[in-house]
């Protein structure tokens, strides 16, 4: 018979020393190192996905964002209000195909971002590339962040949301 079936005593066969060493190293790497490192980073790291999420009604979220924008508006950029809130809660709304409003923040201050989509799935992606997260209509993402570099940042959408997806661009300005 030509094609291979295992030898009769395959269950009792000893694993060769090289492969035993490999097995120990692979277990240490996969089960011990990867899992521990990942957990420790999540608990102690300064860049984590740690945050909260809430169900939110898109219409009332839109109203909250608009009230926030009116309250702290300091200017306008390409037809979108520029908003300079004090450290604390800041709102951002994703809609097909724009980000609202433009946020003007201070380097080193800590903000609590409340971001949600009001229509389709969108992807929050901050350029030059700092981080990306996923948004869904009906849910808001709430997490704190601290800009560590000053400059002009661009927000793009990185989850397909319709034929204008690639033109969905916004701004976050960070001052010294």
């Amino acid at each position: 018979m030509a094609i291979h079936t295992p030898p009769k005593n395959w269950l009792e066969e000893r694993v060769a020393p090289e492969e035993r060493v490999w097995l120990v190293l692979a277990t240490l790497f996969a089960i011990v190192f990867l899992s521990a490192f990942m957990g420790l980073w999540h608990l102690t790291g300064r860049q984590t996905t740690h945050g909260q999420a809430y169900r939110v009604d898109p219409a009332s979220f839109r109203q909250e964002v608009q009230a926030f924008a009116e309250r702290y508006q300091v200017g306008e950029l390409n037809g979108i209000p520029v908003v300079a809130p004090p450290p604390g809660e800041v709102y951002l709304m994703a809609q097909a195909f724009s980000w609202y409003p433009v946020l003007k923040l201070k380097k080193g201050e800590t903000y609590r971002l409340r971001v949600a989509s009001v229509d389709y799935p969108h992807g929050f992606s901050l350029y030059p590339h700092e981080w990306s997260i996923q948004l869904h209509p009906g849910y808001e993402w709430v997490y704190s962040f601290t800009p560590t570099k000053a400059g002009e940042y661009t927000l793009i959408c990185n989850d397909y949301c319709g034929l204008g997806h690639h033109a969905m661009v916004g701004k976050i300005l960070v001052e010294e």
Partner: protein, 560 residues
């Protein structure tokens, strides 16, 4: 053409039953047809990226992405996997297929679903969704129905596999222990069952929603969808590793150094891999899934499956080394590698598949699946780079390697243009390798988004972002890699179809002479692979830590 009820393969000694053989043939042929469609539909994407959105519109790009994705990732791979399942259940286990009528029914349902999805993608371009139809983006009801039809067809195929396996077990056709190839196929079939059930849970309510009868929550859909979407990739993984063990045996007579460990590794896939699909939800706004839940699933359970993959990462190359050393190429650490049959496209496809999957696909997958690193990877081109490295350089390349045996052994035709065929895996594998390397760097470092229809120009928006100049170089590398891979892929289709049409029919004697499969027996130490595996692990560790260092340079996000 009338087939004899049963024949014995002159190369492998396997018994091929006519019903199974006919089903293997028809599923494999249809797989290659969808592969060709997938290749043709990537042409607009490449042209959009190279010539710009003025020449090939974003709309055509999104349409092409949809059709390329479904034809490649679903139809080509699943039809081929069904052929592999029937081969494992019937030929490897020496049993006639149970319920061949159901198997044919499954085939027609899958074909109907696949044709419908292609039809919809072509005729209603404003309704298509670029591959992933996340609620509330809505496709026509017929789309969801087509997905369900395809999935039901696949469930029938998996059922026939299990029924045949049961018959083989009851009639003890394979002796005390089933061959490793059948064990791997069984793993794939079990994973396919849970995957297809998740698909039903995701798509049946969505179908009703598209008719306006039901409300579907976007996050709920996303969760169940990925139980299907990533589950399908675990099937591809298990099928690929099975193909690797088969190819090691077919090309150089290599067998695993430890039957026990290889089987345990497949079991680890079953235990850990499906829950690991939770890594698709790492950056979701999801109050339903606590940190602890996510951590347990993507931290511990997926790493159980990673351990399985690391065991295979040693066993498969070790099988190749063992086969070659036992053939007498025992000089030094790597003498066997120098003397390997590099002119055999089945062999080079196997080696490239193992290396590219391990270094690019596996490593990037574990890294991006890490809880917080996902902030850098999520929805960027790096994700695409990862799955090109897994399902294209890994699974598809392994299936191409198997096809070089399918043609002479099942279709009994001599491969046309063997010299050109020897280059095919290199052209395809290295082209794809360059493409996915460039994609991973573009995604992680520069954050280039996936599925972006206007070549990263942001539709002329006044807020548009200017990428640094090195991005242009990486995009060029992506274009060159993609073009080479496309040529390699089309060459594969040409070789397969050409062989079916014009390949010289082979007699039993010729097959036995040219393709004799003989497992090399004996004890040798795979020293070369031992060294390579240790280097691989060291590189893996460095890559993982480097990614975390890179993340640490970002703004402070999600602090406590």
């Amino acid at each position: 053409m009338a087939l004899p009820l049963e024949r014995t393969c002159p190369a492998t000694g396997l018994r091929l039953f006519s019903a199974a053989e006919a089903l293997i043939k028809v599923n494999a042929v249809v797989a290659v047809v969808f592969l060709l469609l997938g290749f043709l539909w990537v042409v607009p994407s490449i042209m959009n990226r190279v010539l710009g959105p003025e020449v090939v519109s974003p709309q055509l790009y999104y349409q092409a992405t949809f059709l390329h994705g479904w034809n490649m990732l679903i139809f080509w791979l699943l039809f081929f996997e069904v052929a592999l399942l029937y081969f494992a259940a019937s030929a490897l286990l020496r049993t006639p297929l149970r319920f061949p009528g159901l198997a044919w029914g499954g085939f027609w349902l899958m074909l109907l679903g696949a044709v419908l999805i292609n039809y919809l993608g072509v005729v209603s371009p404003s309704n298509f969704l670029p591959y992933t139809p996340y609620v509330p983006l809505q496709a026509p009801p017929l789309f969801y129905l087509a997905v369900i039809l395809f999935a039901v067809g696949a469930i029938l195929a998996v059922f026939v596999f299990f029924a045949t396996l049961h018959r083989a077990w009851r009639e003890k056709t394979y002796g005390a222990t089933m061959p490793l190839g059948a064990f791997g196929a069984l793993t794939a079939a079990i994973l396919a069952t849970t995957t297809l059930l998740s698909g039903a849970i995701a798509f049946i309510p969505t179908f009703l929603w598209s008719l306006g009868w039901l409300k579907v929550d976007p996050l709920w859909f996303r969760h169940t969808y990925w139980g299907f979407g990533h589950g399908a990739q675990q099937v591809n993984l298990a099928a690929m590793v099975t193909a690797w063990y088969l190819l090691a045996l077919f090309t150089v007579g290599g067998t695993t150094p430890s039957e026990r460990l290889s089987r345990i590794a497949f079991l680890l896939y079953l235990l850990g891999i499906n829950l690991g699909s939770a890594h698709h939800l790492l950056t979701e706004p999801t109050g339903a899934l606590s940190s602890a839940w996510t951590w347990v699933n993507t931290g511990y359970l997926i790493h159980v499956a990673v351990l399985g993959s690391l065991i295979h990462a040693f066993s498969v190359p070790a099988a190749i080394e063992r086969g070659l050393r036992l053939k007498g190429f025992a000089q030094g650490l790597f003498g066997w590698l120098a003397r390997a049959p590099w002119g055999n496209p089945g062999f080079s496809a196997l080696v490239l598949s193992v290396i590219l999957f391990g270094f690019l696909g596996g490593m990037s997958g574990v890294t991006m699946g890490s809880y917080d690193l996902n902030l850098k990877w999520h929805n960027t081109l790096a994700v695409v780079g990862h799955f090109k490295a897994t399902v294209v350089e890994g699974t598809s390349l392994a299936f191409m390697g198997l096809t070089y045996y399918l043609l002479p052994l099942i279709f009994r035709r001599r491969l046309i243009w063997p010299r050109l065929a020897a280059w095919q895996p290199w052209l395809f594998g290295l082209g794809m390798g360059l493409l996915s390397l460039a994609m991973i760097r573009l995604g992680v470092v520069y954050g280039l988004p996936r599925r972006f229809g206007d070549t990263f120009q942001f539709g002329g928006s006044p807020f548009a972002f200017q990428y640094p100049p090195e991005v242009a170089t990486l995009l060029a590398a992506m274009g060159i890699g993609g073009t080479l891979a496309l040529l390699g892929g089309l060459l594969f289709v040409l070789l397969a179809v050409g062989t079916l049409l014009w390949g010289k029919p082979l007699t039993d004697e010729e097959i036995q002479k040219a393709y004799q499969v003989k497992a090399e027996e004996g004890h040798v130490t795979p020293k070369g692979v031992y060294l390579l595996a240790l280097l691989f692990l060291a590189f893996f560790l460095i890559y993982y830590l480097y990614n975390h260092w890179f993340l640490s340079q970002a703004w402070f996000i999600g602090g406590r």
